[in-house]
Symmetry: C2
Subunit: 191 residues, 2 copies
């Protein structure tokens, strides 16, 4: 998505060889109108898949997943939780998830009542790095016996291999921007 690549270059920042910093519009401050455009693009890409539910991981996936669910006709959105709360359903699906940006492993949980075998689930996230969050969410969809329609990610860092891990499982992956490499902070997109 050309406008996204331009936005990443204009407002984002490459750090070292691994980090794409887009906290000014995607995952700390949020450019609401732009995120809605990205959501509309996911809705266009997955329009024919009969999606019934959008699933994401807290926290930084929520805004883009909300925009996507809205653009798909106000589908229900579920976000997996990474820490237990005193209001959490005791009956949940769970999968271990290692976070690249937080450097910790946590347990992603989704209450069972929110995904059923009849669902066709679209997983949306802001980043795809090593694919840990994506695989954790996919495991939850499989536990539920629901159909996994595919993954929509805003920025795929292809050099970290998460995309390949999803595609080799046969899943559909749509990345709105694919970063091929980062050299001395300069971001190169896959052509």
């Amino acid at each position: 998505m050309k406008s996204l690549e331009e936005k990443i270059l204009a407002d984002g920042l490459g750090l070292g060889t691994e980090i794409v910093k887009v906290d000014s519009f995607l995952n700390h401050q949020i450019d609401v109108a732009f995120i809605r455009e990205l959501g509309a693009e996911f809705a266009r890409l997955f329009a024919d898949e009969g999606v019934t539910k959008v699933l994401t991981m807290e926290s930084s996936g929520i805004a883009i997943a909300f925009a996507t669910a809205a653009a798909l006709g106000d589908l229900p959105l579920v976000f997996a939780k990474k820490s237990a709360t005193n209001t959490m359903e005791p009956d949940f699906y769970a999968a271990p998830v290692r976070s690249f940006t937080h450097g910790v492993t946590s347990t992603a949980r989704v209450a069972r009542k929110f995904i059923s075998p009849a669902d066709r689930v679209l997983i949306i996230d802001d980043f795809l790095a090593h694919g840990e969050a994506a695989l954790g969410l996919a495991a939850i969809v499989e536990q539920a016996g629901a159909a996994l329609v595919g993954f929509g990610v805003v920025i795929e860092k292809r050099f970290q291999g998460g995309g390949a891990r999803l595609v080799e499982r046969g899943w559909r992956l749509e990345s709105l921007a694919v970063v091929q490499k980062i050299v001395n902070g300069q971001i190169f997109f896959a052509s």
Copy 2:
């Protein structure tokens, strides 16, 4: 807001004397169209305040804050982070925040570059209980030297005293539903 009270009674659940469980539409599964209605209501209430930025706390504030920022004319939205990441700005405002639902104290952080003294900030959150998150976010706005326009919360649990703590500081508070008490799981709204 009548439709919200009805939704809480229809889809929510009172637990014991302290918990309002609304994970089916507000803070785990999200009813996108309904959340957008709530956002429109906040936008109406704060329409004359010259808001320049919406601030919330990750994670469960993000969806309603996104809807509010959109309804206010696509204002920028910032969500405070409760854990440090390797992409976090080193230069941030910080405030300690105790979570009622998680039972832990964490540090809320907002990168300095995202709130300026020229900003008029509206704080949005899903719940107001003891007011810890709200006071933490207010402290961040004050550190930035920005104007705090007020607080918009979806559900205020008045018996936990957070609302009084905000109002006695002179801040404007708009709660879309006010729970007066919960008795044996039955929810009573303030009239």
